[in-house]
Structures are given as C-alpha cells and as structure tokens.
Point group: none
Chain length 411, copies 2
C-alpha cells in the first residue's frame, strides 16, 4: 500500500481565514485512482515547519500545495531548495513561457513575476496553465514530492494533467470504480426510505454512499475496478434507478442539471428564457456559466421590483394587489410574457420570499412559486425552501430547472 | 509561545467526501484569544494513526474532533483509553444526563446510546448540549488534550462553553489583532510593487500578508493585541491605503464589494439596474443574494442573444453589424436604455466573449466591454480577463461593480 501525505501551507489556513478545500479535492481524486491518503497536514509558512513536514521517510508520495505565490510571505521555494540540498536558478524555458502567458493578459514582466521562473535545480517543472507559479516534482530516495500552488484552479489542472497521470503510470494501483447517480428535489431521509429495499438487495461487493449537498443528494456506488462483473452490476443498478425514479434522478457522474437541460434543448433546437424575481438572475447564471449557452439561452428579465413585473412582464397590477407578487397568477403571467417577449420555446419564472424579512403568516420566508412552460402548457407549483436566503435561492433554482427537465419527459 | 495542534479524525476527510471546516473554525476562534495553531492534521479512524498523532510531546494543547459517534467505525474512545493507560467505565452521572437528553427528543435508551456513557477513567467530561457523545479533557505531563465530536454544532458549543474558557484561564495569552484591507482590479504582483515602499516602511511589529482569491487580493495587517500603539498604527495604515488608493481599495474586514455599493445606494436613496450579456445574470445575482436588495436593486435584462439586445435594449442593429456586440457603442446604449427602462439612477452593462469559443484575432476570448453610468455620465472601458469562462464572468462582475463604486467617489 502506497503511503501518501498532503501538506497544505499557509498561515491563513491555521487562523481559519481560509478553509482548506484543496486537500478534500485531492483526496477525492486520488481515491478514484486507488490511492488512499493517510494524512493531511496544514502548517505555517515558516522554514522550520515546512522542513519538518517534508522530512517524513514513512511516505511514498508527498503532495504540497500553497506558498508558491510571488509575494514576500511565500518562502516555500527557498525552503524546498534547502531541503533537497540544491539552489534556485532561472529556468530560461519557463521564463519565456511566463512572458507569453503574461502577454496574453496584456501584462508586462516585472521583478516579482521574474522570480517565478526561479526553480530549484534537479526538479521537473510542472506547467501552470492558469497562473505564474511553476509546479515542481522531485524524486529522492524512492519518494516523490509534488509542489503545487494553493490557488485551487491552478492546483487542479496540475493534478489532472500531470500528477495523477504520473502516479498512475508509476504505481500499479488497485483502483476503485465509482459511479454516481444524481438526484434533486428529495430529502436524504426520504430518499433513504424509498431506496431501503433496493439498497439491502445490493451485491455485497458494492458499497453505497449518500452524499448530500445544496443541489441534491448524490448516490455513489463503488466496487474494486478489478471485478468487471461488479462493474456491470453497478451499471445495471444505475440504469434501474434512472428508469424507476425519473422525477428525481436527473443524471449521473459529473453531469449537472444545467448540462442535462442544455443537451436536451440543443437536440430539440429550442430556446429558453427566464423571468426571475426571488432567484434574482441565478437561473440565468446557471445556464450562462456553461460554455455554449448561446445555442439555447435567449436571456432573462430579472424583475426584482413589482414595477418591473408590471412594465416588463405585463403582470396585472390588480393581480399583484389581490394575490401578491408571490402567487400562481403572477408566475403564470411571467412565463407567458417571457415566452412572447423572447420568442422562446420554454420559459421559467420564479417569485418568492428569500428572506430574511418579508415573510407573513400566510406566506412565510422560503415560500416560492415556480412556473415552467411552453406555448401549450404551463406547470405551476408552490414550495417551501426554509429560512436561509442562499439556500432558498439555490433550491428554487434547482427545483425550477428540474421541473423543466421533467417537462421534457412528457413532451 | 504555546504549541497547539488540531487533529481531525475520519476517513471521510481523507477521501474528500467531507471538507474539514471544523479546524478552520477552531483556528479562527483560538486565534482571537491569542492561540496560534501550529498544525492541523487529518487522519484515518485507525488505532495506530490516532496513537501516533496523540504522541507528540512538542505540543502544549492537542484538540481532537471526530470519531466519537455511536456507530462501529468510531474507535477513538477505546484508543484514547489505551493512550492514557486507562480503561472505560460507565459514568453514572453522564448516563442519567443522557437518558434525560434522549427523553427530551422522545427517544428511549438503546445499546448504542448506552455506550456513549462509557468514558476513560481519569478524564474530565465535557458536556454535550446538542448530542449524545461526551467530550473529554485529559491533563498529562503538562499537556492538555481535548476530545470533541466531529459534528460542527456539538464541537462549537463545547469549544465556546468549556475549552476556550479553560484555555483562557490556564494560560496568559497575548492575542493577535488583525485588520484586513480589501482590493480588487489589480493583480497581486502589481499591487506588491505599488506597495513595496510602503511595506518596507511598516513598523517591525506589524506583519503583512497578501491573500488573493477570485475577487481580488486581501491585505492582512497583524500585530499583538497587547500593544495598543501598534493597533493604532495599523488603523492609520488602513486609513492611508483607503485614502491613497481609492480606485482599487474598496473596503476592509469582512465587507464585500456588493455590500459597500449597497450601503452607498441605500444612503443616496438611489436605484441600480443591470443589462448583462457575458455576465449572464451574475451581477444581478451578486446583488440579489444579499438581504435587503429590494431597497436599491430594480432588476436586470440578461440580453444573451443579439435579438434581445435589439428588442429589449434598443441597441441599433447597424451598431451590432458595424462594431459587433462586444463594443463601446453597444454597452453604452445598453446602459442608456436600462436607466430609462427601469427608471434607475445607475446602470451597469457588460458585453464580452466569455469563451471558450467566439474569440477572434481582434477580440480574443476574455475581451469584455463594461459601461457604468447615470443620467449625466457614462464610463466605458474594455478589459481582457483571460481565457477561463468562470474567471471572465467573475472578473467582469467584480470590475463592473468596482467601476460603479469609484463613480460614487466622483459624485
């Protein structure tokens, strides 16, 4: 069994200013290729702490993140050179790459950036596609050391493009096969009760984990990669869940609900538009953050103020007065006008009380009306998403998107 | 200086299923009373890993979370007893407390819960106000060990009610004073060069850290709380930075750029609306995610498609043809029409190429035109935010918001 340690460097981690999400990401991705991390250590940005943690002969692989930025408080590189008994030099190739990288952002080389091209002799440079600090790989007495920046995006790309492939090539790993089924719109406990019988009948070689987050509950099925009959069995179970529970199982693997919908709309050559009150642009953002959104997304009216609902979405003032902005007639009209205004095939509308204020006895904080429809049919539904503002916005967004997805199933 | 270590126990941390937020919380709260954590270690739920980490004579205080639950995979308590050379016994007082606690939830005592009242001899029990697992405090050869459950709420209450007061009583602590200055729109290296002289002239008792994230670079100034002249000096330097660099210093402490703008708009009793192409609703979301947005935010037109820009924002088709959607005349018109349409005092408009496709030689991916204005004056500027879609959207959002903030300075 390979012994692996992750070291994250930075005072900000130890005083709690930043939560270390890097090591969880690394843990998850190494686990997928069959490497279990034995220890995660967060330490200060001091020479003695770094030297002390690097000096660990019990480990085969040591992954380090953080402490590689251009400013004075980052001393990792000098310390690394000291640990390996070597010295820093200016790597000409990396310097030229860096110059080109900066130029692509219209930035000139300066002294601080120039220092980024200083690397310890004897290391293999790991390319940084999204930043200026180079990654470093050392091999010493059977141990492999990988040094990466603390910026999550830069670290992730280095892991995916370099470190993970390297580890897979150099060790024979018994990897774990995972397959994740994605659900939304059903609480974990309810899901567990619904799946109890199915879960009890699962093959002993297959393990199941419930992984809840803001957007729903993921079901992760795992087995050892060596057993192809178990892998086939998992595929079968995934297909079963998708077929049996189409209303809350929306996808699998790394898919997002937005992607599932996008694929469908592009296939159908149809267009979506949204009218958002309580979600305030978050549904539009959930689509437009994905590449290629212009193929199916027309736009949105964020109608935060009632006046905007009247002027832009032709909502009747008497409806606002009689039923309130958070009501079925209002979201229905929002969908109707959005379909027309944007000449869209589908429209989503939301109106709710995200809180913390604005709730009444009849419509407490968390009440959200959602309407989804096309020219033929509009579905409306009222939900209660609790009293935490961010959660209300995200749950309303996921739920509205999931209604659109289930509408496709009927069409 | 007291040496302090936090140990978090649990396989789920090492395979990345759960992000360890406990240690960041502990780090922050201990830092506030003057205890700097030297090391955070996450380890598996195995006897050898736990024994190995507990055996650390260099530490004065060791705080442990996790591994105290009722299910089979939690072996911490047995291991703790072994480490201290003692054995588990049923604590009658705790047992009765537990019975009362369960009764308050209408639950009966069962075997799993009964085992929670087993504690190692020689420990002081730390009350658990929100769960069944007792906390434990050992004192051995000058070292203090605190064991707490991994459930954040249970851990936090034990820390606040027991562990922190204990540490404050038993050590004479020198707490650290932090003050953070928030910047945006300037890369870390450029900022460091601009501040080099100022940084070198800082009092030796003040330390400075650069903390970059997606939204900008935070500058953290720290000193020991005991020295009130240093605290005054830090306040002076914070004021100096805010006054000298108003274009990129937007706030301090835990403020967000959105909050700074919101406060200003509410003060002025003025309203904002946005017209978003490449940011696709993210600016609207950045305001509407904050409580109270309806006091100053009217709404947004997310004009993703050109047709929508023409129909909804009255952009001239010949401008789209002649200059393209990503151009000064287009964003200028978007601001003008948004001011009118929403009867807003201020409007923000964005149009850019978020990528990954759609770039040309003249306007590569990452090119974004931003316009910000009111009835009297519209500022327009073109930016290059690189080739990663999410980054382009977030940088464009922060930059547009920062232009609005600097406009307030001129008005």
């Amino acid at each position: 069994m390979i012994q692996t340690k992750v070291i994250t460097i930075g005072d900000e981690l130890l005083i709690g200013q930043v939560v270390d999400t890097n090591s969880a990401w690394i843990g998850q991705h190494l686990n997928e290729i069959g490497v279990k991390i034995d220890k995660i250590v967060s330490i200060r940005d001091t020479e003695s702490a770094i030297l002390n943690e690097l000096d660990d002969p019990s480990m085969d692989i040591i992954l380090v993140t953080g402490g590689l930025g251009p400013t004075n408080d980052d001393i990792t590189k000098e310390t690394v050179a000291k640990f390996f008994g070597t010295e820093l030099y200016l790597d000409q190739t990396y310097y030229e790459q860096l110059e080109a990288f900066l130029a692509s952002y219209n930035l000139a080389m300066n002294d601080l950036n120039r220092d980024q091209a200083l690397v310890p002799k004897g290391c293999r440079i790991i390319d940084n596609k999204k930043g200026t600090a180079p990654g470093m790989h050392f091999h010493k007495e059977g141990q492999h050391f990988f040094f990466m920046p603390g910026v999550p995006m830069e670290m992730k790309l280095m892991m995916e493009n370099d470190v993970i492939p390297f580890i897979q090539t150099h060790y024979s790993l018994q990897s774990v096969h995972h397959h994740t089924v994605l659900t939304t719109g059903i609480p974990e406990s309810e899901l567990a009760i619904k799946l109890e019988e199915w879960e009890n009948a699962l093959d002993n070689g297959i393990s199941l984990a419930y992984l809840p987050n803001y957007d729903g509950v993921r079901l992760r099925l795992s087995c050892y990669s060596g057993d192809s009959s178990l892998i086939t069995e998992i595929e079968k179970q995934v297909a079963y869940l998708k077929e049996t529970y189409p209303s809350f199982v929306y996808g699998e693997g790394e898919e997002t609900l937005g992607e599932v919908i996008a694929t469908k709309l592009v296939q159908k050559e149809q267009f979506l538009a949204t009218a958002e009150s309580c979600t305030g642009g978050y549904i539009a953002h959930s689509f437009t953050k994905m590449a290629g959104a212009s193929q199916y997304f027309k736009g949105s009216i964020v109608a935060y103020e009632n006046e905007v609902k009247i002027e832009e979405l032709n909502v009747a003032a008497e409806h606002l007065f009689q039923f309130g902005a958070v009501s079925k007639p209002v979201v229905t009209q929002m969908v109707r006008e959005t379909l027309k205004k944007f000449q869209a095939n589908y429209a989503i509308a939301t109106s709710g009380i995200a809180g913390p204020t604005g709730g009444t006895e009849e419509k407490p904080v968390g009440t959200v009306w959602i309407a989804v429809g096309n020219g033929r049919r509009i579905v409306t539904k009222c939900f209660q998403f609790g009293n935490e503002r961010e959660r209300v916005i995200r749950k309303a967004t996921m739920t509205a998107m999931n209604i659109l997805r289930t509408e496709f199933l009927n069409n």
